[in-house]
Symmetry: C6
Subunit: 84 residues, 6 copies
């Protein structure tokens, strides 16, 4: 997977979740482009429960988007039966 975001489609919910994680990280990267600064922050926030919950929340928001983009990985949702 390269860094450019070319599609929101994934084959499985598992891959969709991974994409949501990537999107959450991308949001951090645009705000703090320096990889070395981000790496220095990691030991602290990854050991702080509230930071972990907050990170999980950003992933959850992106997962909503990715799941919608993939019709929730099912084709049946938007099927409309019209009875005549």
């Amino acid at each position: 997977m390269n860094d450019k975001l070319t599609t929101l489609r994934t084959k499985t919910p598992e891959e969709g979740f991974a994409l949501a994680v990537k999107l959450a990280q991308k949001g951090v990267e645009v705000t703090q482009p320096s990889e070395s600064i981000r790496k220095r922050l990691r030991p602290k926030y990854s050991r702080n429960a509230n930071s972990l919950i907050a990170a999980s929340q950003v992933i959850a928001i992106h997962f909503q988007t990715v799941a919608a983009a993939n019709n929730y990985w099912q084709s049946s949702k938007y099927n409309i039966n019209i009875k005549k």
Copy 2:
């Protein structure tokens, strides 16, 4: 239930809620993969009301996704009546 996320479909809202909980935990796990560190954090945040509310919020966001993926566990929602 194995660790790979293969579907967002569940039989009942109860199981859907359990899946939302799992998704919220998964978001924490990808940020802090060490199970031993996560276990060390647990006694503290699970006794902090604000952390518990924040955790509940992440579950709520994932439950929106899971509920939508399951047509809110009803078939009638997307029925469209066309009168001629």
Copy 3:
């Protein structure tokens, strides 16, 4: 109402709001299953304005889900008129 979540349908918005409250509590309960610990936390957070606002927010997110599951308690929303 038993503890198992069997449906998101409710008769009125009032009951839907009560269900949203229940869902928010359920999210706390799965994270902290001990009722005695939860009860010990209550006096403090229920007297803290920011905690109350945060709790209200989780309810708001679940109410979105419950309201959508109930077609916002109206049948007219998804009616589609097709003129020929």
Copy 4:
């Protein structure tokens, strides 16, 4: 307007916003039912910018729900033109 929530429909966006405010307060009230305690908290949080922003956020989430329940106060949105 009595305390029971009987409908999410309002005549105008202005009234819809007022309903969203009421829903946000309702979420606080279920968590802290004592009116005297809530009144004691008010002077402090209503003078705290972060609390005010947090309260505004809960209103925003409920306003999404109310606006959707009212088709965003327009009838045109769900019109579907089918060309044959």
Copy 5:
């Protein structure tokens, strides 16, 4: 633009964003009606990065609502092609 909210429709995304800002402020105003108190709070929170990010988040939530109310300022989204 007067203070009453009469419509969520705007001509452009730019105006829609301005409406979202207005809605976020309206949420603060209903919680703290005193203009003089709000003005006293402003110098502090407008120089606090976390407060600014939180304010931006409330605007983002309202912008979702306004954008949906305006079909995302495009007419093509809800077109449905039915092939016979």
Copy 6:
């Protein structure tokens, strides 16, 4: 790209994400119009993990809006097959 927001349409998810970032910044700018004050805040919050996560969250919310406005960069989502 000029400062006025004229459309939510973008050619790719990558450009859509950039637009979401711009919208998040725009929300900060309307609350703190002074560029010099904003620049003074930057070194501090861009080195604070929780601020970075919060900024990433605002971007995530706007990305939901932009993605919806672009049909998730796919045309197939709103196709409805009607079998007769």
